[in-house]
């Protein structure tokens, strides 16, 4: 059980942030909404509260911008948007991931066909 949980967490580490970048790519989204959408993905199985430190780091490395904005109802929301370097990082990941996935699929035998 623990091994399975650890495997999922190892796979998540290093890929989850690009899922976040892709989520923000087309439209600005506020933090709680990012957390909610990720929470709906069962295979990511991320603890919601751990996403906020991740968002914080992506902002600190300059891949995301954030700004607080009043919401029509409820508390102010922190909206995230993709910076130019975030966009570059995302496209580098896409290239890397595609060849990485193909290699793993071939070696592990998960490629289907």
């Amino acid at each position: 059980m623990t091994d399975v949980a650890q495997l999922a967490s190892s796979l998540r580490r290093g890929t989850l942030e690009f899922c976040v970048l892709a989520m923000v790519e087309r439209e600005d989204i506020y933090g709680t909404e990012i957390v909610r959408r990720l929470g709906e993905e069962r295979s990511l199985a991320s603890t919601e509260g751990t996403i906020y430190p991740l968002l914080s780091r992506l902002r600190r490395v300059g891949w995301l911008n954030s700004k607080w904005s009043e919401s029509p109802a409820g508390p102010p929301r922190r909206y995230y948007s993709l910076t130019d370097s975030g966009r570059a990082a995302l496209s580098a990941f896409r290239a890397e991931w595609t060849s990485f996935r193909q290699t793993v699929d071939r070696l592990v035998g998960t490629g289907g066909a």
Partner: protein
Amino acid sequence: MSIQKTDVVGEYLREVELRLSGLPLLQRHELLADLSAHIETARERGAYSDSEMIEVLQRLGSPEAIAAAAYWEAGPQPPRATPTPPPPPAPRGGVPPWVIFMITGIFVVFLLGLGAAVAMVRVSDAPAPAQDMVEQAPVKPDPLPTR
């Protein structure tokens, strides 16, 4: 009811904050603001009861898990700001003062009773209690000789 709900949330945020002492001030505040906004949003969406709010907090994760993620994402900190283990929570409650007072009182009464019993036994056993007084007198330490 509303007070209790606030208590659960307040205690949760305090528990998280306790564990973030090794993080730079602004990162700590940023995370707490994010968590507060998250909780507030859940409340706006109808998490009114205590049990619903606890569910929201459970999905957020334990204070330990959140702090671990915060340290992980913060990367290595300068030595001054190395993550310090959270101080053990101060023992709550403990023995109320009145209990100590009562136990002391009972003990004193017991001692007094014991003393009285011993005195009575002595009175009946020793025919000359005055002698005791006489014997005790010389035991008194002499004052130091002055030179």
